[in-house]
Symmetry: C2
Subunit: 249 residues, 2 copies
DNA sequence: CGTCCTATTGAAATTCTTCAACACTCGTGG
DNA sequence: CCACGAGTGTTGAAGAATTTCAATAGGACG
């Protein structure tokens, strides 16, 4: 016991934070990167890790959500449901995104795991208390909201004005760019697993499963993508895929 | 001259802020409501009012925008344009919304006046300096970003999953609720001017002008709305209009 | 081996777009 | 005062894109 306690104190002193956090891959990139070691220690007293399987609900529509979370791994889909069952994915979140809607009790979107997901959650109240002491934290949350807003607006253009082929290409490009955020492999081939099944892709693109399937087949047949086992996609030339996102009339 | 100067000093002393701001209808609702009288005075030294006619551009895509603005009156459309000319409105902003994208030099959306618009603009640098001193200001900007994000996600559902009739009904409902934010007149009839012409409505809904026109005609013929002079809409029963936003299959 | 889940494919039906014609309003200038 | 054109909105008919309905196939799992 004494050893642990010493180690923890050392963590604080050498500005590395709690052991739990040091082992966290999202430690520097998520909102935690804005916290001081002391804040991290305080926060880590209230954190809990959770794992969810595909299609499991992290937070239901209308829930009085009292906790926020950081995504440690996996992809989370934010969905909206209409009374008659029509569904639309209104946002996708990847690690190390922050999950939650600050300053509001309820939300009309529900969060579901698209893949296997693990998160690190903590009570709203703790974070909200820290915002007042650490402007940097509030700033990061603000930044994330603005980033999500930019992404939502990109998606509005896609939903409103693109053809089915362009939509599917845009989705694949979105995933590809997320695998390779810096566009390093602009030339070389990229390979990735689709985090969404066809039904989810359809709900994301505002199409039917069948249309999605047909467009993927189409892209496959012209060689823009190679698909194995339905989920593994290889893009031989990213530029060619990007061209499919816009020019198709 | 001496009189003016005295009056200005009194403004400061009685905590009412500069005369310019006192006469401003957006004074308390926009971000200015988060400023101290001293900050308002400082800000007002750099503010300028501008007026724009319909379809005039407030800020072009890719502009290095150095100023923010508050909308004093009118409606602003945020649009995205594709290389081949396809256009999509990705957001609508009404008085007293804040206009601008904090923490980012360029934006890929352009802002255009949908109606006649007047704004009160000021340099980014002034506001950004004030954020550090006034957490309340940063908080308000954050709130507005989150509000816009919620709205964008509502719209994503509309674009992705609703039929043309539902889309047009949803648009009319959006405008109607904006005229009457508290839904006071849930029962009684509501009358308003459409701030957008048909082409803009089409760009907002991801439809063509013709389809919009046909759906309006359809809603008119079943008595859900009454239209005069193309732009003046009366909704006899808001509930009936709301029903059209979801149930139509 | 059967069942469930996921994905693909075909044919018919539907929705929305495109193309084309026309109507209305408003300002300008003969 | 009227003709003209530009800008805006409506309507019809044909065409294209997407959905719906239906059938099939493969993989995972008990």
């Amino acid at each position: 016991m004494a050893r642990t306690s010493l180690a923890e104190r050392q963590d604080i002193h050498n500005s590395e934070g709690p052991a739990l956090c040091r082992a966290c891959e999202a430690r520097h990139r998520g909102i935690c990167g804005a916290l001081t070691p002391n804040q991290l220690v305080a926060l880590s007293k209230h954190t809990a890790r959770h794992a969810y399987g595909s299609d499991e609900e992290l937070a239901a529509t209308g829930d009085d959500v009292r906790r926020y979370a950081n995504i440690l791994s996996g992809v989370v889909k934010l969905t909206r449901l209409m009374a008659d069952g029509r569904q639309q994915i209104v946002g996708l979140q990847f690690a190390p995104d922050f999950l939650g809607r600050p300053f509001k009790r309820q939300s009309d979107v529900s969060a579901e795991a698209a893949t296997d997901v693990s998160v690190c959650s903590f009570p709203k109240s703790v974070i909200e208390g820290m915002i007042d002491q650490s402007p940097e934290l509030g700033h990061r949350l603000h930044e994330q909201a603005l980033k999500e807003l930019d992404e939502a607006r990109d998606w509005i253009l896609t939903l409103g004005r693109k053809s089915a082929t362009e939509k599917v290409a845009s989705f694949l490009y979105l995933i590809a760019s997320h695998v390779d955020p810096e566009h390093k492999a602009e030339d070389g081939p990229i390979c990735f697993e689709l985090p969404l099944k066809r039904a989810d892709i359809a709900d994301f693109l505002g199409l039917t499963i069948e249309t999605v399937s047909r467009q993927i087949t189409k892209l496959r047949k012209v060689g823009t993508i190679v698909v194995e086992h339905n989920r593994t996609v290889t893009v031989p030339d990213l530029r060619r895929l990007r061209e499919c996102c816009e020019v198709d009339r």
